[in-house]
């Protein structure tokens, strides 16, 4: 058994000199610097994938465009929904931004099950990445994907004549709300993935919960016109807080921004905790 690393080389002797970096392990990042590094790594992967294949970006823009075009235009004429004096399509636009971002995030668990089946997840779990850091990274990667989707929908809305703000600070707030909410919904999805462990079951559950999450929120109509029990549901639904923040920031309608961001941040933190503790089931 040859112990010497500098043993005479045969086939790939030319690599020995060049591969000097591969002989020294990288210095570990410590403490608080580990989490942002892992989040960045996961977000980078998501962006690289989107760059190689933009199909999903385009196909996912169709549905929100149709919501605004068909549903929005029609209900603007009907004037059946009290919007506080703004055109219905304006009222609807933030709701559709939130909805399209949620649709991306709520099926994110499918990706983690695919990564489990492909061995990618196992390989990541054998790196110096705590499970909570891996989930946080995935959650923000879902946030980045949703954010790009949100930009597309905002552009569509602007083209359809919705009077949106162009204040950069407010748009930054919109981005933050989208990322936080997507982090929550993707963690909800990854938690369910950790419980049901199969793509088919997750698809079914994902579809079953998106409908009540969407219609049980203020995305399409004000909470005030809902029956009492549904208002209670809406109060517990993070999507409502996201839409409230987006509406306030994009249209300048009265909103509860501090409460909205507080709820979204707490929901994201809870989601990350739940998904991290269920991740072990996927690794088994």
């Amino acid at each position: 058994m040859s112990e010497a690393p500098a043993a005479p080389r045969t086939a790939s002797a030319e690599h020995t000199g060049a591969a000097s970096l591969l002989l020294t392990p990288p210095k570990p990042r410590s403490g608080w610097r580990l989490l942002p590094a892992r989040v960045l790594a996961m977000c980078a992967v998501e962006l690289q994938k989107l760059r190689h294949d933009r199909t999903e970006l385009y196909t996912r823009a169709i549905q929100p465009a149709l919501w605004l075009l068909i549903f929005g235009q029609t209900f603007t004429r009907i004037k059946a929904i009290p919007t506080g004096g703004i055109p219905y399509i304006d009222y609807l636009a933030p709701g559709i931004i939130a909805q399209s971002a949620m649709f991306i995030a709520i099926f994110y668990g499918i990706q983690i099950i695919w990564e489990r089946d492909a061995g990618i997840l196992n390989k990541l779990l054998v790196t110096p990445t705590p499970r909570s850091a891996l989930i946080t990274g995935k959650a923000f990667a879902a946030g980045v994907k949703s954010l790009i989707q949100a930009v597309v929908v905002i552009v569509i809305a602007a083209i359809l004549g919705v009077a949106l703000t162009w204040n950069p600070l407010k748009l930054l707030g919109v981005g933050l709300a989208v990322v936080l909410a997507s982090a929550f919904f993707s963690c909800l999805s990854m938690s369910i993935a950790g419980i049901v462990l199969s793509r088919d079951r997750l698809m079914g559950i994902g579809q079953a919960i998106t409908m009540p999450l969407f219609f049980g929120s203020n995305a399409l109509y004000p909470v005030a016109i809902m029956p009492g029990w549904l208002q209670a549901v809406s109060k517990a639904n993070p999507l409502s807080y996201q839409v409230d923040a987006l509406r306030g920031l994009l249209l300048g309608t009265p909103a509860h921004l501090a409460l909205d961001f507080g709820v979204l941040a707490v929901a994201a933190a809870l989601g990350i905790t739940a998904a991290s503790s269920l991740l072990g089931r996927l690794a088994r």
Partner: protein, 275 residues
């Protein structure tokens, strides 16, 4: 490096899935710099043992040590020493070869200033420099295996763990994967722990092998030792193969026990993806 440093030590390692004892009292020592082969049919417990050593499955403290770190107690320290290539073809097909390796450079904390260079060196070491900017989805099975090797090497691991690295590959690709493993091992002096059910490969490439059956090591030694031992017991002049040794130690009942449905399915899936 002292020659008798222990890279992996399992003492009485056991792991059960429900009522099924996948690993049942495994004792194993792998020395630093060694290429150690864990052999056995599907379902012998090789992959479960590997998953315990890599911290993927939780084991109590005191059962597994990797370079003096207890996998039950000090997971992060163990993971920093490991390069792991799972049985499935685990490169991300939606990323280029370079991006696949860069991800692992990032999660092993390679500083930004040396990341590009280190990734390039890892790709160079497995002869993928020319294909580095193609999507991994366009790679052949053998190329994906080499890419995974680059992903594992980018962090300069002291222990490389390969779970069935040549499963489903054609003979030429198998040879090429082993050539890369051997070249890298010679260049870095790292320890290699490999599972396989191809006895001929183990005979050719492993310094020592452990024959695993029903969750335990049934025979341990260099391939030649094991084959000579059997020849002596049988009193024959011709040297038997490792496969004969395996049949001998496993005894009867080998066929009924050749892996559950899930193992076979996962093996087939890998074989399919290799194409």
């Amino acid at each position: 490096m002292t020659p008798d440093t222990t890279a992996v030590a399992c003492t009485g390692l056991s792991y059960s899935f429900g009522d099924t004892k996948a690993v049942d009292g495994l004792d194993l020592t792998v020395g630093e710099g060694e290429v150690f082969g864990l052999l056995g049919p599907n379902g012998a417990g090789k992959t479960t043992a590997i998953r315990c050593i890599t911290t993927l499955l939780p084991v109590p403290a005191g059962m597994v040590r990797v370079f003096d770190h207890d996998t039950g107690r000090d997971r992060m320290a163990v993971r920093r020493l490991l390069g792991y290539v799972p049985q499935q073809l685990s490169a991300d097909s939606g990323l280029t070869g370079r991006e696949n390796v860069a991800l692992f450079a990032r999660v092993f904390d390679v500083p930004r200033r040396e990341r590009a260079e280190r990734v390039a060196q890892a790709l160079e070491a497995v002869d993928l420099a020319d294909a580095a900017d193609r999507l991994a989805g366009t790679y052949s099975g053998g190329m994906v295996r080499r890419l995974e090797l680059a992903q594992a090497l980018v962090s300069a691991p002291r222990l490389l763990i390969l779970d069935e690295p040549t499963i489903g590959l054609d003979p030429i690709a198998r040879t090429s994967v082993w050539d890369q493993i051997n070249a890298v091992r010679e260049a870095t002096g790292m320890t290699v722990l490999v599972t396989t059910h191809y006895m001929d490969e183990a005979d050719q490439h492993c310094h020592r092998v452990g024959l695993m059956h029903r969750g335990r090591i049934r025979a341990l030694g260099t391939p030649t030792e094991l084959r000579r031992g059997l020849a002596e017991r049988q009193g024959t002049d011709t040297l038997p193969t490792l496969e004969d040794v395996f049949r001998d130690v496993a005894g009867s009942g080998l066929d009924e026990q050749s892996g559950g449905f899930r193992d076979v399915r996962s093996t087939r899936r890998t074989a399919n993806r290799v194409g």
